[in-house]
């Protein structure tokens, strides 16, 4: 069963058509890649899916439920989270606090509003910081971390809130090669061990070819091709629009 189903999604900004008749699916528990040239509408598609802006037509279903009319916080609480291309963390708080406030959101009670952070949450936060290699820096302000470390922190925050589906917008952009290997490893482990489905926008072909089981390629707001990584790599349309001749 598909955890995310996008059908005939259409989104235009004035006369600029950012997404035209886009359909894609993320099967439960799988990793799906999304590639395409700059400006092809990948991030707009993410924004449409997570409720950042209203879509013009089409449908977005999450676990079989229509969500195209819901707004960002409501969709996040259902268990679909996104990370940002320009990494976003809470810069004035330390790493541990960033994690502690990223728990899954139930309806808030008086206790959850004013209570202290439960020990179990702190423990889990520390465990996940260990997982991404930031445990030693847990008391540093997140704003003082390097860009790559902030990306890892943002990823850890996403894991902290136990999403069912995670939309990652260029998770390896601006990260050094050694760290990329570690990050890819952690993405795969999050998928396998925590059962989180992933939809990943990525420009690094090595990374996405390795990671994804199924891929989509966008160009000029339209779906150009889909298939296995190998099929995408050898597709003449994709080579022409995006990859270029080797």
């Amino acid at each position: 069963m598909a955890i995310l189903e996008v059908e005939h999604l259409h989104k235009a900004f004035g006369g600029v058509v950012a997404n035209a008749d886009v359909s894609l699916q993320v099967p439960e528990g799988k990793i799906v890649g999304l590639i395409g040239p700059n400006g092809s509408g990948k991030t707009t598609l993410f924004n449409s899916i997570v409720g950042q802006h209203p879509i013009d037509s089409g449908s977005v279903r999450f676990q079989g439920r229509e969500i195209s009319r819901l707004r960002v916080p409501a969709i996040a609480r259902l268990g679909m989270l996104r990370t940002f291309q320009q990494t976003r963390i809470y810069g004035g708080m330390n790493c541990l606090e960033n994690m502690e406030i990223s728990t899954p959101r139930a309806r808030p009670s008086l206790h959850s509003l004013f209570g202290r952070v439960p020990a179990a949450i702190t423990e889990k936060a520390e465990g996940l910081l260990q997982f991404v290699g930031l445990y030693a820096k847990r008391r540093l302000l997140a704003g003082d971390l390097s860009f790559g470390q902030q990306k890892l922190l943002e990823f850890a925050m996403a894991l902290m809130s136990e999403p069912k589906l995670l939309l990652l917008d260029e998770p390896t952009a601006g990260i050094n090669p050694t760290l990329i290997k570690g990050l890819v490893d952690r993405l795969r482990r999050a998928n396998e061990e925590m059962g989180i489905s992933l939809l990943v926008i990525e420009h690094n072909m090595n990374v996405i070819m390795n990671l994804a089981e199924h891929m989509y390629c966008l160009a000029h707001g339209q779906l150009l091709a889909e298939g296995t990584p190998e099929a995408i790599r050898d597709n003449p349309l994709v080579i022409d629009a995006y990859l270029g001749a080797h």
Binding site: R88, G91, N94, R116, L152
Partner: protein, 326 residues
């Protein structure tokens, strides 16, 4: 600071505060206003410092609490003290209700737009109160006569103001120790991210404003009864004095810290009183200069500067023994 030292520090402060009206009875009223100023700065900082929403309209809650209480004191037919305390409670509740109602509308505004949106609140309330005959219109209200001995009034209200300030401080201290501070700090640092993580941002913002309003609604009646006369423009909804001082004191002491607003309020209030005493005629000019100096030289405030200087003292350090690279 270790717990025993901290307890000692609090006890010493308590002793000084309790003894003060007997040590220097001549300045009881000025000292009462010190507690009022501390409540101003602390409550302003809930939104302005911890949540990143700079409000110019918080004085509204101060005035609403003041009017509510004095109306009850005058019209409910209760003896003096029950009337005062029930009035204070009603003032706090009314201020919270105002914050809840306004919050749904105005807290949707971000950044500068919120600041500008709130700027009109106090001014509009002053115009409104100044035109409403039932609450005295432009000639304001006079508080009931204190029934005790002559001179007892100043001491009594000193302790009431002190009690409200202490309750405000420790309530905020408790709230800041928990998840609530993390949530409003997250809103301050990146509200879009907080929404994307599913945080109930509207709820947190409204509740934060209601907390600030509650304590302003409690201290308003105290200030009104100390002054004895409620003028809609110069006392209750004094946007250009109290309304602006609130944020100046919090900024001077250090936004987003617990002690910053307290320190800022103490320094600001003492400086201001000295200006009134020694620079009479020029006090407004001196105060204006002080404000400029605060904004230029202490944009992060005293506590903010200290934290920048010694971050390890505030727990910001790498855990050497823990290993693990990033």
């Amino acid at each position: 600071m270790n717990p025993r030292l901290r307890l000692l520090f609090y006890l010493a402060l308590l002793a000084v505060a309790l003894a003060a009206p007997y040590i220097v009875p001549a300045i009881r009223t000025q000292m009462s206003f010190l507690w009022v100023m501390i409540v101003f700065a602390l409550t302003w900082d809930v939104l302005g410092g911890q949540m990143g929403y700079n409000s110019f309209g918080n004085v509204l809650f101060f005035g609403v609490g003041m009017y509510t209480c004095v109306m009850i004191q005058q019209h409910a037919g209760l003896p003096y003290f029950p009337g005062l305390f029930i009035g204070m409670a009603a003032g706090g509740a009314m201020a919270m209700a105002f914050a809840a109602a306004l919050g749904w509308g105005i807290l949707g505004l971000r950044g500068h737009y919120f600041a500008i949106g709130t700027l009109g609140l106090g001014i509009a309330a002053a115009e409104f109160a100044g035109g409403w005959d039932y609450i005295g219109a432009g000639s304001g209200l006079v508080t009931p006569l204190y029934p005790g001995a002559v001179g007892g009034r100043e001491t009594f209200f000193y302790y009431v103001a002190f009690a409200v300030a202490v309750v405000t401080f420790f309530t905020l201290r408790r709230i800041y120790a928990g998840r609530f501070r993390l949530a409003i700090n997250a809103i301050r640092d990146d509200e879009d991210k907080a929404e994307a993580m599913g945080l109930h941002t509207t709820l947190y913002k409204t509740v934060a404003w209601m907390i600030a309003a509650l304590f302003l609604g409690l201290i308003g009646p105290v200030a009104g009864n100390i002054i004895g006369f409620i003028d809609p423009r110069d006392v209750a909804f004094a946007t250009s004095s109290y309304g602006v001082w609130m944020l100046l004191m919090a900024i001077l002491g250090g936004k987003g810290t617990l002690w910053g607003p307290v320190i800022g309020a103490v320094i600001f209030h003492i400086t201001q009183e000295l200006f009134w005493t020694y620079l009479l005629g020029w006090q407004r000019v001196a105060l204006g200069l002080l404000i400029v100096l605060i904004v230029v030289f202490f944009p992060m405030g005293i506590m903010g500067w200290v934290r920048e200087r010694w971050p390890e003292r505030f727990g910001q350090r790498v855990d050497e023994g823990a290993g693990g690279a990033g």
